[in-house]
C-alpha cells in the first residue's frame, strides 16, 4: 500500500483526470475551474454578489421552478411509457398508473409538480417585481419571463385534459370556451356576426379559433391528441428555448440583481 489514500489514488487515475480537469474545489483556482468547466454548472457565474446567494433575498423561486420543470420532464417522459392519448385508452391508462403500474405516485408527482410550478413561477415574478429586478438592463428578460409564465399556465392547462375524465374535459371545455369569445376570431365574440358574406359565414363554430385549438367543435378525441402534442412536445420545446434565453440573459444582464 502506498501512503496515499484511496481517494487520492482515484483522483490521479487517467480516467478521473479525463473527466474532471481540476482538483478538489478547496482553493480559488479549482473553484473557478469547476464552475467554468462543467456544462451544467457554467450556467452560474464563477463569483457572484453575496446577496445573490441569500435565500432571504432570492427565495430561489426561479431555481425551484427550473428544478420542477426538469422533474416534470423526467416524470412526464416516464408517464408517456404507459399513456396512450386516445379516447379508448387514455382513462384506462391513468387508472393503470394509479392501480398497478409500479411507482404508483408517478402521476401524483407530475400533477402536483405542475401545480407547484405554477405557484413558484408566480412567486418568482412577485419577487422579481418587489426587488425591482426588471429595471434596466433587465427589461427584456422580464418580458421573456412573462412569456414563460404564460407558457407554464398553458403547459398545465394542456396537461389537464390528458386524464380524460369528467374533471378534465369539462375544465378544458370551460377554459377553451373563452377562446370562442375572441373578438373577430371566435364565433361567440364581438365582430363574429359581421364576418359574413351572404350565406357564407366566415366565423362559425366549425372554423373559428376554438375549432383550430380543439380540432373539432367540442372537446373530443382530436382535442386530446392536440393537447397531448402541445403538452409533451411543442410547448416544452418553446419553454426550453426560452429558458435558455432567460438564463443567458440573467448572466449577460449582470446576474441576480443587487443595488447599483
Amino acid at each position: 500500500m502506498s501512503d496515499k489514500s484511496i481517494v487520492d489514488q482515484v483522483r490521479e487515475t487517467q480516467v478521473w483526470k479525463s473527466i474532471f480537469r481540476h482538483g478538489p474545489p478547496n482553493n480559488a483556482r479549482n473553484r473557478a475551474a469547476i464552475v467554468a468547466g462543467n456544462v451544467f454548472l457554467h450556467l452560474h457565474p464563477i463569483k457572484l454578489k453575496k446577496s445573490g446567494v441569500q435565500l432571504g433575498y432570492t427565495w430561489c423561486m426561479g431555481g425551484l421552478t427550473f428544478f420542477i420543470f426538469l422533474s416534470l420532464t423526467v416524470t412526464g417522459v416516464l408517464l408517456m411509457f404507459y399513456y396512450r392519448p386516445t379516447a379508448e385508452y387514455a382513462f384506462n391508462d391513468i387508472v393503470a398508473l394509479r392501480e398497478h403500474v409500479p411507482l404508483g405516485i408517478m402521476r401524483e408527482i407530475h400533477r402536483w409538480g405542475a401545480h407547484a410550478m405554477v405557484i413558484t413561477v408566480w412567486l418568482h415574478m412577485f419577487r422579481v417585481f418587489m426587488t425591482g429586478s426588471y429595471k434596466p438592463p433587465r427589461e427584456f428578460n422580464w418580458g421573456v419571463g412573462v412569456i414563460l409564465l404564460v407558457l407554464t399556465l398553458l403547459l398545465s392547462f394542456t396537461g389537464y385534459l390528458l386524464p380524460w375524465d369528467q374533471l378534465a374535459i369539462w375544465a378544458i371545455t370551460v377554459g377553451s370556451n373563452m377562446a370562442k369569445a375572441t373578438p373577430f376570431l371566435g364565433h361567440g365574440g364581438p365582430g363574429a356576426t359581421l364576418a359574413q358574406i351572404g350565406d357564407f359565414i366566415l366565423v362559425s363554430d366549425k372554423n373559428d379559433v376554438r375549432f383550430q385549438l380543439l380540432g373539432g367543435r367540442f372537446v373530443g378525441e382530436p382535442a386530446l391528441l392536440r393537447f397531448y402534442i402541445l403538452h409533451c412536445v411543442f410547448i416544452p420545446l418553446v419553454v426550453g428555448v426560452l429558458i435558455a434565453i432567460h438564463f443567458w440573459r440573467v448572466r449577460k444582464d449582470g446576474g441576480i440583481s443587487a443595488p447599483l
Binding site: K50, A87, E88, N92, V95, R98, E99, H100, L103, I105
Partner: protein, 951 residues
C-alpha cells in the same frame, strides 16, 4: 465566526444541512418504496393461500380416508420389487445402452449427410427446372444426370436412416422392457394412490410461508422477475366499456382478491374467498357466462380495473348493518364521482338488462322479472314511455261507455279515493295526498273531480245490456266462481283464503259490486264481455244464462254500504271558474281569460275544466277516454331512467341519501314526498299518484328502473335471440296479455291457480300443465282449438274460456309453442295407418291388457270419462309425442294419473310383440291414429253406442 474570503456560508454548517436533508430524502425514498410495495390486495392473496391450504387439508383427509394405508404400502412394495428386478438386469441394460449409443451416433452422422444431400437435391432440382423453363435444354440434361445420381444416393441415405431409427426404437423398447415390472407397478400406484400424492403435494405447497423462495420472488424491486403474488385480470370478450367517444376493452381484476370465485369448494368461506354462489349460471367455465368471457363488472358494476383495496372497487353495502361491518373491517367509505359503483346485492339483476334485450322475462333473473311484472300490474308504462313496452294495452278499463256501468256519484267517490271502495285496487290515488291535503287544495281538487266525472259521463257512449238479470242462486254462483276459473285472474271477496294464495292480480279484486253495477250489466258482461268492451281481455266462459245469473246473484251480494252512503261534495262553481281562469290566463292576460270564460255557459265550463283536468292528471294514459285519442302520455320517459345523473333527481328537502336507488324506492313509496317543505302553487304540485306500494314492491321496481340504463354493449356481446326465441317471446307476450299463465303452468312458468288447495291436492283436477305443448299438439289443431274451444277433459270443473283472440294472436301463440320445442310447423299425419302383420291384433290386445279403456273413452265402455277421448287424438297429438308420452308420462307431465307401462325400459306385458317397448309403443300409437281416422264422431255414433255426448 469569520468566514474565508469569497465564502458566504460556513461550509461545516452547510455540510450538516446537506446531511440532514439527505437523510430526509432517504427516509422519503424508503417511504415511497414501502408505499408502493405494500398494497392491501397482496395481503388478501397471502391469506387466500392459507384458506386454500385449509380446503386442501380437508380434501387430503377425504382422499386419505378413501385410500387404505395397507394398500398404499403394498403398492409401494410392488414398486420396490419392480426396482429390484430392474436392478438385477443392470448388465443387460448397460449392454443395450452401449448399442443405443452406437446407433445414435450413426443416426447423427447420417442425419448430417442426408441433410446436405437433401438440400443439395432441392437446390439442384430448382436449377434444373429453371434451365428447362428457359429453354436451356443441353445444360438441363447435363444437370438432370447429376441430379438423378444425387437423388439415388440421397434415397439410399434416407433408407439407411429409417433403418437406423428403427434399430434405435427397437433398442429403446428392449431397454424399456427390462423395467417392465417397475413401470407396471408405478402405473398401478399412480392409478390407485396417485391422487393422494398429488393432493399431498398441493397441500404442502399451498402456504406462502412454507417456501422461503416466495419471499425472494415477491421482494421489493425484484418482484417483476416471477412473482407469486400478482394481479389477476380478465379481458371480457365482446363486452366493452363505454367511453362515450369510443368503446374500450373491459378489464376486470376482481379475481385478484376474489381468488376462488370460479373454483368450486370454497362455498362456505367468507368473502372475498368465497366461490360464486351460482357457478352453473355465472362465472363457471362451463356456464353461459364464463368469467373469462363475461367478466365481473358486466353484471355487478363497479370499478373492475381498480384493485388497490376493498374501497377501490367501490363495493356498496346492502344495508346499514353491512355498512357498519364493512367500516369496521375495511374502513369502508364511498369513492367520489364513480360512474357505476358495484350494485347492491339485491339490485344485481339490473345488470342483466343491457345484454338481454327483447325479452320480457329473463330466465333466472327473479327479482328483475318480478319488478317487470309489477310494471305491468301497476301499469307504469301507461303514463311513462318505456322502449320495448309499447305493445302493451292500456292498463285501465275503457271509459267509453262508463255511464251505462256505474253512477256519477259512485265515480266521483271512486276517483277521490279508490281504496274506500276497493282496498286492493290497482287504481292509484291522486287526491288527499301528502302534498295536496291543504283545505284550499282540497277545495280545488273537489271541483276537478266533479268536472272530470261530468266530462266522462257527457262523453260516454250509450250501451244497453243484451239481456236482463232475473235473479239467481247465490250459493251456486259462488261455487261456480270458485270452480270455473275466475280466480286465476280475480280475487273475489268472500271466496276463502285458499284462493288468496293464488294472488291473482290480472283482473280487479271483486268487491262491493252490488254497490257499483247493475244486475243486467253484470249478467251481460259475464256472458259476453266483448259486448260491453270490444277489446277486453276478459274471456267468455261460455256460461249459460242460468250460470251467469247465479254468479251475478253472488257478486251482487257483495256490497259496500259505507261507500254507497258517501256523498260527494257538490261542484263549487266559483272554485271551478277560478281554476279555469288560471288555465286560460297561462298564455293570455286576465282580461282575455275572463272574456273567454264569460263566453262559456255553466255546463261548458264544467266540461272544459273536466277535460283540462283529465289532461292534467293523465287519466287517458290508462283509460280510453273520448276526446283524448292519440295524446302522448304525461310521464317521464323511463327508457334510460337508471342512468339519470343523481343531480337531476329532485330530492327536495327530504333527508335521505342522495342516491339513485334510494330516490327510486322512496319515489315508489310516496311520489309526492318531494314537495314537502316546498311552497308550491296548486298547478305546480307533483302529480304522480300514490300506489300504496309495499316496501318489497318498491324494491323490486327499483331493480327494474336501475336496469333501464344507457349502458351499451356491442351486438356481439349481447344475447341475440334466434328465430325460435323471437317466436317464443312473441307468443309469450300474447299469452301474457290474456293471462294464460294464470291457469297454465307453461314450461315451468305461471300456473298461479295451481296454488289453490283443491288443485294442489289433485293436479288432475287442475288446468293441464303445458309442458312441451309445442311438441304435443299439431299446429293446425291448436289454431282451430283456440278459435273454437271445446272440452277435451270432460271431468274438469274448471273451464278453458273462449278468448277474444285475433287470428294473428292465435297464430302467434301457436308459433310460440312450436318455437319453444324448435319443431317444424307441420308434422305429417299418415293418411292411412300401415300395419305390419299381426301388429293390429297385438295393439288391440295391448289396449285390453293395459286397460286403456278403463279411463279413456274408446268405445269400449259407457262410464263417465276420466281421461281425454282418444278418438280425437289423431288430429290433436303429434305421433312422436304420443310415443314419448306412452314411454314415460311422468317426465312429460309430473303428477299425471296416466300410468307408466314401460317403466325402466321394460314392457309390463312381455308376451306381446316380443316384449319390445318400441314395438308395443308403435303399435299403440298406430291404433290411436287409426281410431281417429274416421270423421269423429260419425253421425249417429253417440246414439248407437249410448255414450254421453260431451258438451
Amino acid at each position: 465566526m469569520k468566514l474565508e474570503p469569497g465564502m458566504a456560508f460556513d461550509t461545516k454548517v452547510q455540510n450538516k444541512v446537506f446531511a440532514f436533508l439527505s437523510i430526509l430524502l432517504l427516509l422519503s425514498t424508503v417511504w415511497v418504496i414501502l408505499d408502493d410495495y405494500i398494497r392491501p390486495w397482496k395481503a388478501v392473496q397471502i391469506k387466500a393461500l392459507d384458506i386454500k391450504k385449509e380446503v386442501l387439508g380437508e380434501k387430503l383427509k377425504a382422499v386419505k380416508a378413501s385410500v387404505k394405508p395397507e394398500e398404499v404400502a403394498a403398492l409401494k412394495k410392488a414398486i420396490e420389487a419392480g426396482q429390484k428386478i430392474r436392478d438385477s438386469r443392470q448388465a443387460e441394460v448397460d449392454a443395450l445402452k452401449k448399442e443405443l449409443g452406437e446407433t445414435q451416433a450413426k443416426i447423427y452422422a447420417q442425419k448430417i449427410i442426408n441433410g446436405a444431400d437433401g438440400s443439395s437435391s432441392s437446390a439442384m432440382t430448382f436449377q434444373w427446372e429453371m434451365k428447362k423453363e428457359h429453354g436451356k435444354d443441353a445444360a438441363a440434361k447435363k444437370l438432370k444426370g447429376k441430379l438423378d445420381a444425387l437423388n439415388i444416393k440421397w434415397g439410399k441415405g434416407k433408407d439407411y436412416f429409417k433403418q437406423l431409427t428403427t434399430d434405435e426404437k427397437n433398442v429403446l423398447n428392449a431397454i424399456a422392457a427390462k423395467s417392465k415390472e417397475l413401470k407396471l407397478a408405478q402405473k398401478d400406484y399412480k392409478e390407485k394412490a396417485g391422487k393422494l400424492d398429488m393432493t399431498q403435494e398441493a397441500y404442502d405447497s399451498a402456504s406462502f410461508f412454507s417456501d422461503p423462495i416466495n419471499f425472494l420472488r415477491n421482494a421489493p424491486f425484484i418482484d417483476y422477475l416471477d412473482p407469486t403474488i400478482k394481479i389477476q385480470q380478465v379481458v371480457a370478450e365482446n363486452i366493452t366499456e363505454d367511453r362515450y367517444f369510443k368503446q374500450t376493452e373491459k378489464v376486470d381484476r376482481c379475481m385478484t382478491c376474489h381468488t376462488f370465485i370460479d373454483k368450486p369448494g370454497y362455498e362456505k368461506k367468507d368473502n372475498p374467498y368465497k366461490t360464486h354462489p351460482n357457478l352453473n349460471l355465472m362465472v363457471g367455465a362451463d356456464s353461459p357466462h364464463p368469467m373469462k368471457k363475461t367478466g365481473c363488472t358486466t353484471c355487478h358494476g363497479g370499478e373492475g380495473q381498480r384493485v388497490f383495496d376493498f374501497n377501490a372497487a367501490e363495493h356498496r353495502p346492502e344495508n346499514e348493518k353491512q355498512k357498519q361491518e364493512w367500516i369496521a373491517k375495511y374502513h369502508y367509505h364511498e369513492g367520489h364521482k364513480i360512474a357505476q359503483p358495484i350494485r347492491k346485492k339485491s339490485q344485481t339483476e339490473a345488470g342483466c338488462v343491457k345484454c338481454h334485450q327483447g325479452k320480457e322475462f329473463i330466465p333466472q333473473a327473479d327479482r328483475l322479472n318480478k319488478g317487470r311484472q309489477l310494471v305491468q300490474t301497476y301499469g307504469c308504462y301507461g303514463c311513462h314511455k318505456i322502449k320495448g313496452w309499447e305493445h302493451l294495452r292500456k292498463p285501465g278499463p275503457s271509459l267509453y261507455k262508463i255511464s251505462s256501468k256505474v253512477s256519477k256519484e259512485w265515480t266521483k267517490n271512486w276517483v277521490w279515493f279508490p281504496r274506500h271502495f276497493n282496498p286492493k285496487t290497482k287504481m292509484p290515488h291522486y287526491f288527499n295526498q301528502s302534498n295536496n291535503s291543504k283545505p284550499e287544495f282540497l277545495k280545488k281538487n273537489v271541483a276537478e273531480v266533479n268536472s272530470i266525472v261530468e266530462y266522462l259521463f257527457k262523453n260516454s257512449k250509450s250501451f244497453s245490456p243484451f239481456t236482463r238479470y232475473n235473479g239467481g242462486n247465490a250459493d251456486k254462483g259462488k261455487a261456480l266462481i270458485q270452480n270455473v276459473g275466475c280466480i286465476s285472474c280475480h280475487q273475489v271477496e268472500g271466496i276463502g283464503n285458499d284462493f288468496n294464495k293464488v294472488g291473482s292480480k290480472k283482473g280487479p279484486y271483486l268487491t262491493g259490486l252490488g254497490s257499483k253495477v247493475s244486475g243486467d250489466w253484470l249478467v251481460s258482461w259475464l256472458m259476453r264481455p266483448s259486448h260491453y268492451q270490444e277489446d277486453t281481455v276478459m274471456p267468455s266462459f261460455r256460461l249459460s244464462k242460468r250460470e251467469a245469473s247465479d254468479m251475478t246473484s253472488y257478486l251482487l251480494t257483495l256490497k259496500n254500504k259505507k261507500f254507497s252512503e258517501m256523498k260527494f261534495s257538490d261542484l263549487d262553481r266559483s272554485v271551478r271558474d277560478e281554476l279555469l281562469l288560471e288555465y286560460f290566463s297561462s298564455f293570455d292576460t286576465i282580461a282575455v281569460a275572463k272574456t273567454k270564460l264569460a263566453g262559456l255557459d255553466d255546463h261548458q265550463r264544467t266540461l272544459e275544466l273536466g277535460k283540462r283536468s283529465i289532461g292534467k292528471f293523465g287519466c287517458y294514459s290508462c283509460h280510453n277516454i273520448d276526446g283524448f285519442e292519440g295524446r302522448s302520455p304525461i310521464g317521464v320517459d323511463l327508457t334510460n331512467e337508471g342512468s339519470k345523473p343523481v343531480t337531476q333527481l329532485a330530492f327536495g328537502h327530504e333527508h335521505i341519501e342522495h342516491k339513485r336507488d334510494v330516490w327510486f324506492k322512496n319515489h315508489m313509496l310516496n311520489p309526492r314526498r318531494w314537495d314537502r317543505g316546498n311552497n308550491k302553487g296548486f298547478k305546480d304540485l307533483l302529480r304522480m299518484p300514490n300506489f300504496f306500494m309495499s316496501e318489497e314492491d318498491a324494491d323490486l321496481l327499483t331493480v327494474f328502473l336501475l336496469g333501464q340504463n344507457s349502458e351499451k354493449v356491442p351486438m356481439a356481446g349481447q344475447k341475440n335471440l334466434n328465430e325460435y326465441e323471437v317466436a317464443e317471446e312473441k307468443g309469450h307476450r300474447v299469452m301474457s296479455k290474456y293471462n294464460c299463465y294464470g291457469c297454465h303452468n307453461i314450461d315451468g312458468m305461471g300456473g298461479d291457480i295451481l296454488k289453490a288447495t283443491a288443485y294442489a291436492d289433485d293436479p288432475n283436477e287442475a288446468p293441464p300443465i303445458l309442458a312441451g305443448q309445442g311438441h304435443r299438439v299439431h299446429t293446425d289443431w291448436f289454431y282451430n282449438f283456440l278459435g273454437n274451444v271445446h272440452t277435451i277433459r270432460p271431468w274438469l270443473k274448471v273451464r278453458m274460456p273462449t278468448f277474444n283472440l285475433s287470428n294473428e294472436e292465435k297464430n302467434t301463440i301457436v308459433d310460440g309453442f312450436r318455437a319453444r320445442k324448435k319443431l317444424p310447423v307441420f308434422e305429417e299425419k299418415p293418411e292411412k295407418v300401415v300395419w305390419e302383420p299381426g301388429e293390429r291384433a297385438a295393439a288391440k290386445k295391448l289396449i285390453t291388457e293395459y286397460a286403456c279403456d278403463s279411463c279413456h273413452t274408446l268405445g269400449f265402455n259407457k262410464d263417465e270419462p276420466m281421461a281425454p277421448n282418444l278418438h280425437h287424438a289423431k288430429n290433436r297429438l303429434r305421433a312422436s309425442w304420443i310415443e314419448k308420452w306412452l314411454k314415460d308420462p311422468q317426465s312429460v307431465m309430473p303428477g299425471t294419473t296416466m300410468p307408466n307401462f314401460f317403466a325402466d325400459g321394460e314392457a309390463q306385458e312381455p308376451s306381446i310383440l316380443g316384449g319390445s317397448v318400441d314395438r308395443q309403443v308403435t303399435a299403440l300409437r298406430k291404433y290411436i291414429q287409426e281410431i281417429g281416422e274416421k270423421e269423429f264422431p260419425e253421425a249417429g255414433w253417440y246414439e248407437a253406442t249410448g255414450f254421453k255426448k260431451p258438451e
